[in-house]
Amino acid sequence: MKLSKKVVLLGHFGVGKTSLFRRFIDNEFSQEYKVTLGVQIKKKIVQLPDGRELSMIIWDAEGHSNSEDTRKSYLLGSHAFIYVFDLAREETYININKDLEYLKENYTKVPAKVLGNKLDLVNEKEISAHLKTNNIPFDCLTSAKTNKNVQDFFSDLAEEITK
């Protein structure tokens, strides 16, 4: 039986949602910043460890300063959210707990993964310590530019949502 899951990328403007999306799907990266209007959708077939194949349909939604402003119809029917923030810009994660709370309350069954992106711009040890000190939750730190942890993150997510 065919497996398909919808995953939505969320977060502020310019945190690298589209870059992660492009890195994961097409293994491409561009320094040029083009703001996403509305949503773009792409698919990647992910090979699961048990031999099954998953069609991961990724919705790269336009950036918003808080999750409440994201068009609700884009979030409906999701199997996972990926909340992306910019490790080099504190304003993109300072209110993260409020945003995650909103998602948890309104989409109870949908897991939300938190991803700190642009690891290439910061010192990993220092930023990890800083996030922990400030009670900023995160599941993974990535760099779409260098491809660090990107493929692993999505593979783990694919496994988790098909359990």
Partner: protein
């Protein structure tokens, strides 16, 4: 002293000033004549040279100024592509429209000619029908080809945009159906959200020669891509067939098994007239 000499002396005495004036005028006239003559001569000598040079210059323009002008134009077009396209669009659109109208006329005439030459029951029937309806055989044949046809059908989960089943009476094509299903859902959601029409649903999308008929159910929707002239009669037949399919063949189990759903969809619509 004779009489004549006296008169001469008298003339000289009385008309000296006038004579000097007349002489000076004569001299000036002579000078002017010389200048005019010289200019004519000059012009006669210089004009062919200037003409040659001008001609040479005109001939050299493509070589000398050409690349600079072309480069400048290219740069200008490159910098304002949108403006160029914007300006050309209506002109090209009009040209294409005229061209298509002309080609359709030729096609219609050609079909009429060929159907007159060839005999078959189909042609005979069309000829009779054309006579009854008072239209040309060519126009009738073209309208046969413009009949609405089902190209592709998608059954999509309403919220997630995940493709549950699909069917195409033609080939499977190269489009990524799952992505199309996602994008259709995004467009649908956007329109339904943006215009805040309560529980209203987007039911039709038209693009160029195709129409996407959308029929909404509780947890899924059916999108049928139609080519040709989508009309009310076709819409009603299609709606009835989709409702019939949903009512009689689809259970909640099918929504969880896309392979089974696709099989049922194919079977149902392969037998139907659309």
């Amino acid at each position: 002293m004779e009489e004549q000499d006296k008169l001469k002396i008298l003339k000289e005495l009385l008309l000296t000033e006038e004579k000097e004036f007349a002489d000076s005028i004569a001299q000036k006239v002579e000078e002017l004549t010389k200048i005019v003559h010289q200019k004519k001569e000059l012009s006669h000598k210089v004009d062919p040279i200037i003409d040659d040079k001008l001609e040479e210059f005109v001939q050299e323009i493509p070589k000398t100024l050409g690349p600079t002008i072309t480069e400048a134009l290219k740069e200008e077009i490159k910098n304002s592509q949108d403006a160029v396209v914007e300006a050309l669009f209506p002109i090209i659109g009009k040209m294409i429209k005229k061209y298509i109208a002309h080609e359709m006329k030729l096609l219609s005439e050609n079909i009429s000619k060929k159907t007159k030459q060839a005999f078959s029951f189909k042609n005979w029937f069309r000829r009779t029908k054309a006579k009854v309806q008072g239209v040309s055989e060519g126009d009738l044949a073209i309208s046969d080809y413009a009949k609405p046809r089902l190209i592709q059908m998608f059954v999509v989960e309403k919220n997630s945009g995940i493709l549950l089943a699909d069917y195409s009476p033609l080939s499977d094509g190269t489009i990524d159906k799952e992505m199309v299903a996602g994008m259709l859902t995004a467009i649908k959601s956007f329109v339904e959200d943006a215009f805040q029409g309560g529980d209203q649903n987007l039911e039709l999308i038209e693009y160029e020669l195709y129409t996407i008929h959308i029929q909404n159910f509780y947890s899924y929707y059916v999108a049928a891509v139609i080519s040709g002239a989508y009309n009310m009669m076709f819409k009603e037949v299609l709606e009835d067939q989709i409702i019939d399919f949903a009512k009689n063949y689809i259970s909640s189990k099918d929504l969880e098994d896309s392979t089974l759903f696709t099989k049922k969809l194919k079977k149902h619509f392969a037998d139907e007239i659309v």
